[in-house]
């Protein structure tokens, strides 16, 4: 915050210093000649940064316009030509107020002038206003530099955020795909929204179990790779069929396949959709039977009733079913016959108008006692004809 006074007259320097000191400006430097001032400012030194011995921060220069060697006008011109020093305001101290002389001073880059003989009030007012201007300019410059830096940082942050966001999105898409592989979409959505346990009660759904008969025996004779490939082929067809009929595959257990109709989005015709599925599954197996030389057949069990469906646990997500209905459907399958689709009384009651059944009589169901069951044969022709 130094004020540099350049004047060849001792009394003039003393006067300037004294006036400024009396107003509280204590950081003052003086020079007798322009050359000495340049030395103090290191105008001749390296251009970048204030060199050793230079005044660290000169905020204002009071320059006598008329000096023996180099006059104030020329000195001011040289200062303004220096990239490092050009922002230091220069007030010319002049005896002449002739317009031409003042024009010369302003053309050389002076910010203001003060006339001799000096008047204390005038000098201080001009010094104050020039210093204020300089401070304001410095502040603006600093703020501009700050803004540029903040802007750069912001841009960097945004770029890295963009990148992170992109990676996050890719991760999310991946986990979403995985989640949708194992869970129905409405269920996946609810889990994503933070629900940790899902257990919905459905008053009516139709559960199907299918088991590939004699698969174990086939497995004993064929290489493991072929067996898995065969099973994969059959189950993949089942998966596509389930999708086609709007049914929810629950899981496969070994060579058994479990699916449900009416879940998770309820539909009134779930029993019928499951019946269509069962008939299609049997057709798939007939095709394979020809391939495998009559070795494979399917056993299907169906039951309709209330179930609980949901996701429990946090480790391995699986949309599963609970309840007596599930057990009975499983029994319908295990107690059924090869190539037969065995349904319970409950399912039969829903479907008997549209499908042909063969009564199977009473079957002893473990834990349930005797149950009347039916074997689904196919769609009634009349019902088929009634279809649009």
């Amino acid at each position: 915050m130094t004020i540099l006074i350049v004047d060849d007259s001792l009394s003039q320097r003393l006067l300037l210093v004294s006036i400024l000191k009396s107003a509280g400006y204590t950081d003052l430097a003086t020079a007798e000649t322009a050359a000495s001032a340049f030395q103090k400012l290191s105008l001749t030194g390296p251009l970048s940064g204030p060199p050793n011995g230079a005044l660290p921060s000169v905020n204002l220069i009071l320059m006598d316009i008329s000096m023996p060697d180099m006059d104030g006008i020329e000195a001011c011109r040289r200062l303004k030509a220096s990239e490092r020093l050009k922002d230091i305001p220069v007030i010319m101290v002049t005896a002449s107020t002739a317009p031409d002389d003042l024009q010369l001073a302003f053309d050389a880059g002076a910010i203001d002038y003060i006339t001799k003989p000096l008047k204390r009030v005038e000098l201080l007012a001009r010094v104050r206003s020039s210093l204020r201007l300089k401070q304001e300019m410095d502040r603006r410059k600093a703020r501009e530099a700050e803004l540029v830096e903040v802007n750069q940082r912001l841009e960097e942050t945004l770029r890295s955020l963009d990148e992170k966001h992109r990676l996050l999105q890719a991760e999310q898409e991946k986990s979403e795909r995985l989640l949708l592989n194992v869970l129905p979409k409405p269920i996946a959505d609810r889990l994503k929204q933070g629900q940790s346990v899902i257990a919905d009660s459905f008053p009516s759904a139709t559960v199907l179990f299918a088991d590939i008969v004699d698969f174990t025996r086939l497995a004993a004779h064929a290489p493991a790779g072929e067996i898995v490939a065969l099973l994969n082929d059959i189950f993949s067809r089942f998966d596509r069929l389930a999708e086609k009929h709007g049914l929810e595959k629950i899981k496969t257990i070994g060579d058994a396949y479990m699916l449900v109709g009416g879940l998770p989005t309820p539909r009134p015709d779930h029993a019928e959709a499951v019946a269509e599925m069962a008939l299609d599954m049997r057709t798939v197996l007939f095709g394979h039977t020809r391939q495998t030389g009559g070795l494979l057949s399917i056993r299907v069990g169906i039951h309709t009733g209330p179930v609980i469906a949901g996701v429990i646990g946090t480790k391995r997500f699986i949309y599963d079913l609970w309840g007596d209905t599930v057990n009975i459907a499983s029994r319908m399958e295990s107690l059924g016959a090869a190539d037969g689709i065995q349904v319970s009384e409950a399912t039969y009651q829903v479907l008997c108008d549209k499908y042909v059944f063969e009564p199977r009589g009473k079957v002893n169901v473990k834990g349930k006692g005797e149950m009347v069951t039916y074997l689904l044969q196919g769609r009634k022709q009349a019902a088929l004809a009634a279809q649009p």
Binding site: D8, S9, L10, S11, Q12, L14, L15, S18, I19, S22, S66, P68, A95, K116, P117, L118, K119, R120
Partner: protein, 131 residues
């Protein structure tokens, strides 16, 4: 404005502008040497050389030196309110600038005289106020 010069008559302008001196007196700090005295001391250090410079420049027809010396003395005397001395210097400075030095020698002699008178008046004024 009162006339502080002891030997002046109402027709000649007073050697000192007392308002200027009063302005500098405002800057005096209690317990510190009078600013005006300091300023006078500095003036007395540089002025004799300038007065001498004006005299020789006028004698040797050195317009450049006349202009410079007169200018410097004008500044110093003006700051001390020595208006008559400053006016004389201004006239000599103009001569130097124009390179027209006719009549410079008698003016230079007047400067010497006026310088002494201004000094006296200043010292009287300062002592009067110090006392």
């Amino acid at each position: 404005m009162t006339n502080a010069g002891a030997s002046s008559t109402p027709s000649t302008p007073p050697p000192l502008d007392l308002a200027k001196l009063a302005e500098w007196r405002q800057m005096d700090v209690e317990g510190e040497p009078s600013f005006l005295a300091e300023l006078l001391k500095a003036f007395k250090e540089e002025a004799p050389g300038l007065v001498e410079g004006i005299r020789t420049a006028a004698q040797t027809n050195d317009a450049h030196k006349l202009r410079q010396s007169a200018h410097s003395l004008k500044g110093g005397s003006g700051n001390l309110g020595a208006v008559r001395l400053a006016d004389l210097c201004a006239e000599l400075e103009k001569m130097g600038r124009n390179g027209a030095l006719e009549g410079a020698a008698p003016l230079a002699a007047q400067v010497e005289l006026e310088y002494q008178r201004a000094l006296q008046a200043l010292e009287t004024e300062i002592n009067r106020n110090a006392g």
